[in-house]
């Protein structure tokens, strides 16, 4: 009996040793099975194969209303904002694709116009709350009439981006009106704060609005340079987290911090600031990369919070892997920043994770990621084609 036990223990120990060795062999190799040339995701010139497939899927959603309805229903069940952001990311993507391939403009412009017009129609018909989370109705906006910088900034940038691809006079006045409201509200208080939700201002929305001003300057000959510089100076003084040097995600209209440097916000902020103040944007990206970007065993991902900040996970964080702190929201936005700042090593690692864990599904040349949703896929599409629009804004 004793001898049997001895044999069993010997076999088990041998098996355990073999299992441990096998694990040590396999784990460092795993990423090699998912790693593909980066050019499949992002290309400096032209459109990458993945971008083309992702775009084909989105164009299908906008040409087949029943499919779009299903996708929007799924997202709106969790967050109405995603419906809106899915639209804006898609418009910005199609504009970049049109600038990359001018021959395709004629195909993209009708979809871009359809998205902008439908979005404005919904906002007009159902009010700003149509694209906001229900808590927006819980209390009144501090400044009336109620306006959301989230909507005004992104719609203005959608219109401006469309005009950058090809001028459409019909968008000039509504874009200018929105920017005038934003400018007036920003100038009305020392923190240049404009609410996105009642008494809740987001640096994400500030940064998008600043890009919209830059687009207007390029298109209409206005000059918002001083306004943008003023915002950057104010942000450096009042909106930076002292421990990380990163911009806060949200704050009250009196400047009191709400959320700290959240991954699902800061990556996009850095990307937008690139069109406004390149050195500050790069500083924010490098800090974000250090605090929130990780590559483990060849797989890249984003954390939602830096180690020094204990914050809750909100709906934008997506699912967070316990223990590792990997956030779907932060990882998705990290693609945009990595692509924008040409951090090819990190971008490659992120794409490797995407292919490993996001369940790509291809059908008739159309690609979607099952673990993602329409807004997630639109953000990925944007990351895979961004560049030309920002370049044309920054051109001297």
């Amino acid at each position: 009996m004793k001898s049997n036990l001895k044999v069993w223990v010997k076999k088990a120990s041998l098996a355990l040793a073999a299992f441990t060795l096998a694990t040590a062999i396999w784990l460092p190799c795993l990423h090699l099975f998912f790693r593909k040339p980066l050019s499949e995701f992002y290309q400096e010139k032209g459109v990458s194969p993945k971008a083309r497939q992702l775009a084909a899927r989105h164009l299908q959603l906008w040409t087949e209303p029943s499919l779009r309805q299903i996708e929007l229903q799924k997202m709106r069940a969790s967050n109405a904002e995603w419906d809106f952001m899915g639209r804006t990311f898609l418009v910005w993507s199609l504009v970049n694709m049109g600038l990359r391939e001018p021959g395709m403009k004629e195909e993209y412009l009708p979809v871009i116009d359809q998205i902008i017009q439908e979005t404005v129609r919904i906002e007009k018909q159902d009010g700003i709350y149509a694209f906001l989370m229900p808590y927006a109705k819980a209390r009144p906006y501090q400044v009336s009439p109620a306006r959301s910088l989230f909507l005004d900034g992104e719609i203005a940038l959608m219109m401006g981006a469309r005009r950058m691809l090809q001028e459409e006079p019909g968008y000039k006045q509504p874009m200018t009106e929105r920017l005038n409201v934003i400018e007036q509200r920003m100038r009305s208080n020392p923190l240049m704060a404009m609410e996105s939700y009642p008494d809740e201002c987001w640096t994400y929305d500030d940064a998008v609005a600043l890009v919209a001003f830059k687009v207007a300057d390029r298109l209409d000959g206005t000059d918002h340079t001083a306004l943008c510089q003023q915002w950057v100076a104010m942000a450096k003084e009042h909106l930076v987290d002292k421990k990380t040097g990163l911009l806060l995600s949200s704050y009250q209209i009196n400047g009191a911090p709400l959320y700290g440097p959240e991954g699902s916000t800061i990556w996009m902020v850095a990307h937008c600031l690139q069109a406004v103040d390149e050195p500050f944007a790069r500083d924010q990206y490098e800090r974000s990369r250090k605090e929130l970007g990780r590559i483990t065993l060849g797989f890249g991902y984003g954390l939602e919070w830096p180690a020094s900040w204990q914050g809750p996970m909100d709906v934008d964080s997506g699912m967070v892997v316990p223990g590792l702190g990997v956030s779907a929201g932060s990882s998705g936005m990290a693609f945009i920043a990595a692509s924008s700042f040409h951090d090819w090593n990190f971008l490659q690692a992120l794409v490797t994770t995407l292919d490993m864990a996001a369940f790509p599904s291809r059908q008739n040349g159309r690609l979607k990621y099952c673990a993602s949703n329409q807004v997630g896929d639109a953000a990925l599409l944007y990351a895979s084609v961004l560049g030309p629009l920002w370049e044309s804004i920054r051109k001297p």
Binding site: A12, I25, C370
Partner: protein, 110 residues
């Protein structure tokens, strides 16, 4: 056919901690993953992005299906290769042991 079933039966009844036992476990996981893929459960992994994977199912049910697929996926890409490598290492060890250690044992006994 008979030989195949015979082999399967031998593998199924393989003693614990043997290469065959690891192979069987790898095969079971791979088969379960194949079933999950064939059933289209990958569509339910949308719960990872905080999205309702299927508006006709409750969030709980749909997320459970997604979680099952997610676990099987990671079992397939992580555990299955590790089990196969383990089986290979054990088989190599056993081969080495039977080739070099046993003859020496016999001569000692003699």
């Amino acid at each position: 056919m008979k030989a195949t079933f015979g082999l399967l039966r031998r593998l199924w009844k393989a003693e614990a901690f043997t290469p065959a036992a690891f192979l069987v476990r790898a095969a079971i996981l791979a088969a379960l993953y194949a079933v999950s893929c064939a059933a289209g459960l990958q569509e339910y992994t949308a719960f990872l992005s905080g999205t309702s994977p299927n508006v006709n199912l409750s969030w709980h049910t749909a997320s459970t299906l997604g979680l099952i697929h997610l676990l099987l996926h990671f079992a397939f890409i992580l555990l299955v290769p590790i089990l196969l490598i383990t089986a290979g290492l054990l088989a190599a060890w056993n081969g080495y042991f039977s080739r070099y250690a046993k003859p020496q044992g016999r001569s000692d006994a003699a």
